[in-house]
């Protein structure tokens, strides 16, 4: 179906998942999270799938969570972003994000849940929650610090200014930069290369990397989660979202 929010291409040894809401810069809404979750459940149990590509249709990879639905998505009882992100991170086979154009906030987190990232030259990668009074969850901070270190994480989070593809490559946020029109092909090459390696080796390697990192995910952070919930439900957060939708500058009150 052309109007599916998630398109799935099945290749002999790998699967490509395509975010397909180009008119909304592939913003993640509830339907899209549900579609991703359902497809991940299938892939988890498919030993013949040796790599997964995640990419976005149109000019942007993904502009993040759809702010029009953020109330339901973050607070609601449906499929949560954390659940989907964690499910991608735990997939037993390597995952490759192919990103172009806007790769922002939830969109960048989505890319970071993958093992490898290829960017088109025109990509803009950033975390913009500080602009609207929101806050990434604790595991997202872990993921960033793991990938680009604390100093670069501080720049990305506090300035809330997207980085271009070249700078992203420098700090290790992406592995490779290619001309815009070669992005899909470059991702296919990597997926085919991985799928051509010994599947048991590759799966065991992925488990090893995950295990090395796992201790860090056991750090107690309940108090910070509480604090995060306060920030997300603060007047500033409401103001930030409203100002974004009304295309004006927010007025912060620190409450």
């Amino acid at each position: 179906m052309a109007d599916d929010v998630l398109k799935v291409e099945r290749h002999p040894n790998y699967v490509t998942l395509i975010l397909n809401r180009p008119e909304k810069r592939n913003a993640l809404n509830q339907v899209l999270f549900q579609a991703l979750d359902a497809e991940l459940a299938v892939i988890e149990k498919s030993p013949e799938v040796r790599a997964v590509i995640l990419r976005g249709e149109g000019r942007a990879f993904c502009s993040g969570i759809d702010l029009r639905e953020i109330g339901q998505i973050v607070g609601g009882g449906g499929v949560t972003p954390e659940h989907v992100f964690s499910r991608i991170q735990k997939l037993p086979m390597p995952t490759i994000a192919a990103v172009q154009g806007d790769t922002l906030t939830g969109g960048l987190v989505l890319a970071l849940t993958c093992d490898l990232r290829i960017a088109a030259q025109g990509a803009r990668l950033g975390m913009t929650p500080a602009r609207i009074g929101y806050l990434p969850t604790f595991p997202i901070f872990r993921r960033f610090i793991e990938t680009v270190g604390p100093a670069n994480t501080a720049e990305i989070m506090y300035l809330a200014d997207p980085l271009d593809a070249a700078r992203s490559r420098e700090i290790g946020l992406v592995h490779k930069v290619v001309p815009d029109d070669q992005l899909a092909a470059a991702a296919d090459v990597w997926a085919a290369k991985i799928a051509g390696n010994a599947p048991l080796s590759v799966r065991a390697m992925k488990v090893s990397i995950q295990r090395v990192m796992s201790k860090a995910f056991e750090i107690d952070h309940k108090d910070i989660d509480e604090l995060g919930n306060k920030v997300r439900t603060s007047n500033d957060a409401k103001e930030g979202v409203l100002a974004f939708l009304e295309k004006r500058k927010p007025v912060w009150k620190g409450e």
Binding site: P129, A130, R131, I132, G133, Y134, L135, P136, F138, F141, R142, I145, G149, P150, A151, N152, T153, A154, E155, M157, Y158, L159, A160, D161, I171, K215, A216, I219, D220, H221, I224, L227, G228, K230, V231, S234, D236, A237, G240, P250, W252, G254, E255
Partner: protein, 256 residues
């Protein structure tokens, strides 16, 4: 006061701290450290401040602790201990930006690293020259280096005791951006304004998440190393190193 060793200025939503001992390349003495401690304390609970710039007047950011006072400042027992004050700076609830130029050495390098963000002038020379004078870097400062530039770069910086230039510092991730020396203040202000324009509660909680994530993965046992460091600091070599530095001659090491 023009002769203040340390200046604190407020500019709307951010504060600027200035090391102001240019004739000594802003080397840190006891009054300056006390003033830094007080300045940090004064913004800890100030909800109006959303970012802090730390800069140095003159040609260099900071050449480290004033070796004429090294013995008093280093020990860790002293209330004006570098480690305690830098840790307080590191845990300041709002983002901090160091604007570094010229010499940012030893304690001056660490001071910049204990900020969240670093903007550098193209004439920067940043490094840990401590091994040259037979002193030792406190455990927490080594942890800080590893946190920012990784173990391999930390080895280079510590063991060669050779400062790196701005470009190399940028490559290592020791600084975030390099600008022409004349544009340094402008660049730091642009960053402070950008940060201060973001949502204050988001920023504070982000910083808390980052510190937790780092602190708890870094609280390895190191009592033995603290003991070892005490020994090094009170060694004959350390006394010789400082004396040689002050007398501008090469030190003679005896490994005792």
């Amino acid at each position: 006061m023009a002769d203040e060793l340390f200046k604190v200025e407020r500019h709307g939503a951010y504060a600027t701290f200035t090391l102001n001992r240019p004739e000594k390349r802003n080397s840190l003495n006891e009054p300056m450290l006390k003033a830094l401690d007080e300045a940090v304390a004064s913004v800890e609970h100030d909800k109006g401040i959303r970012a802090v710039i730390l800069r140095g007047n003159g040609r260099g950011f900071c050449s480290g602790i004033d070796l004429a006072e090294a013995e008093r400042l280093e020990g860790g027992h002293n209330p004006v201990s570098l480690e305690r004050i830098f840790k307080r700076l590191e845990h300041l609830p709002v983002p901090t930006i160091a604007a570094v130029q010229g010499a940012a050495l030893a304690g001056g390098c660490e001071l910049a690293l204990h900020c969240d963000l670093r903007v550098a002038a193209d004439d920067l020379r940043m490094g840990m020259t401590v091994a040259r004078v037979g002193l030792v870097v406190p455990y927490n400062f080594i942890r800080k280096l590893i946190e920012i530039i990784g173990a391999a770069n930390t080895s280079q910086i510590l063991y060669t005791a050779e400062p790196v230039d701005a470009q190399r510092a940028l490559q290592m991730g020791m600084v975030h951006e390099v600008v022409p020396a004349a544009k340094l203040d402008e660049a730091a202000i642009a960053w402070a304004e950008k940060v201060a324009g973001n949502a204050p509660l988001s920023l504070r909680t982000m910083k808390k998440s980052m510190r937790r994530s780092l602190d708890e993965s870094n609280d390895a046992w190191h009592e033995d190393i603290i003991e070892m460091s005490r020994m090094v600091r009170s060694s004959k070599d350390a006394k010789e190193g400082i004396r040689a530095f002050l007398e501008k001659r090469k030190p003679v090491w005896q490994a005792e």
